[in-house]
Symmetry: C2
Subunit: 210 residues, 2 copies
């Protein structure tokens, strides 16, 4: 019944479904989206879509995995960029500020919604724990390089600093998406947070930046 298609065509369709689902989730929220919404968005037939994915949950897991991969790639790029870790870290914070100013970039809040709307389900909790651990591992690995290069002399255990950074970013993101970037004064908050980090990591910038 199904016509034969090439592997690359299959992959293209799969990606198209994932992207369409992302658009639907951003527009309607995860909880309120249905597979039918996703099918409509793809402009493919229901049968075709179900050949690839049997539920929105399944698609969401792929989106999450992609998101983890992007973070990993980002940190890998920074590690080989030749930038000092401090400059790289400041760049990450600036990027976050930009992302928060971009009202249309609502994937992060879709990811929260996915986790929090299922906080009572064991599978969702385990996934969130996994997601948290991965994010932690990428960032701590990066900060570690700063210590090895003699850039940082952290005032307390690097892992604790790392966890504090992650918690803070999470909160800023949530507040900004909820209460609006102006109400939360993100620009000023992040400037303050940078100065705090500089002290807590005891940054000795190898490139002489103040």
């Amino acid at each position: 019944m199904t016509p034969k298609i090439s592997e690359s065509e299959k992959e293209k369709r799969r990606m198209h479904i994932i992207q369409s689902a992302g658009e639907v989730f951003k527009r309607k929220g995860y909880v309120n989206s249905t597979m039918q919404d996703i099918v409509d968005e793809t402009e493919m037939s229901r049968g075709w879509v179900y050949l690839y994915f049997s539920s929105k949950d399944e698609i969401m897991k792929v989106i999450l995995a992609e998101n983890d991969k992007e973070t990993e790639a980002q940190i890998k790029n920074l590690l080989t960029s030749g930038l000092s870790v401090w400059k790289g870290l400041c760049g990450l914070i600036d990027m976050m500020e930009q992302q928060l100013s971009n009202a249309s970039d609502e994937l992060p809040i879709v990811i929260y919604e996915y986790f929090i709307s299922g906080w009572k389900e064991q599978e969702r909790r385990s996934m969130l724990e996994e997601h948290y651990k991965k994010q932690q591992a990428y960032l701590v690995h990066y900060l570690q390089k700063g210590v090895e290069d003699g850039e940082f002399n952290p005032r307390v255990d690097l892992d604790v600093i790392n966890k504090m950074i992650t918690s803070y970013f999470e909160g800023v993101l949530l507040h900004t998406k909820a209460a609006g970037i102006g109400n939360v004064r993100v620009k000023e908050q992040l400037r303050l947070f940078k100065s705090i980090l500089k002290e807590v990591l005891q940054v000795h910038d190898l490139e002489g930046e103040s």
Copy 2:
């Protein structure tokens, strides 16, 4: 049909429904709870419960208002306690640590779930913004007292410090409930955060605490 009952009896029943709903939300999550679950929990008749509330959303709004009132009362108590603001603030952080260690206290995450599962709905967004502004106002009012009393000499705008504190607490709470208090190393994180706050507020503790 309905027997006459006294005002105080009415209020008692209303509170009983609210408390029962809180238990259901904590056990099943907000999204997964139904009015029937709440009726079952109250052990009252369906008709009685619907005399007071027509939806779980309506009950949730009362829970939220109660939560705001509690925060307000807590800050009022601190303001008149005679404690230095710095000690009071440390007390709030310690209390937060205790609350996070208490796995059964899951009301905060129910509140998140309520807001985030409805982030696409205008009404829910406005409520969240309102909730955020109220929390901000209580805390900044408290910190202001520290400035007036000559305890604090904040390095940057107090409002920005206040927003940073709120964002950080939000993130810690979320991470802890998601990834577990041990994984997130809450105790160490909060100790570090206290030392940061002390520097950012430039605390001159009037009671000579170091």
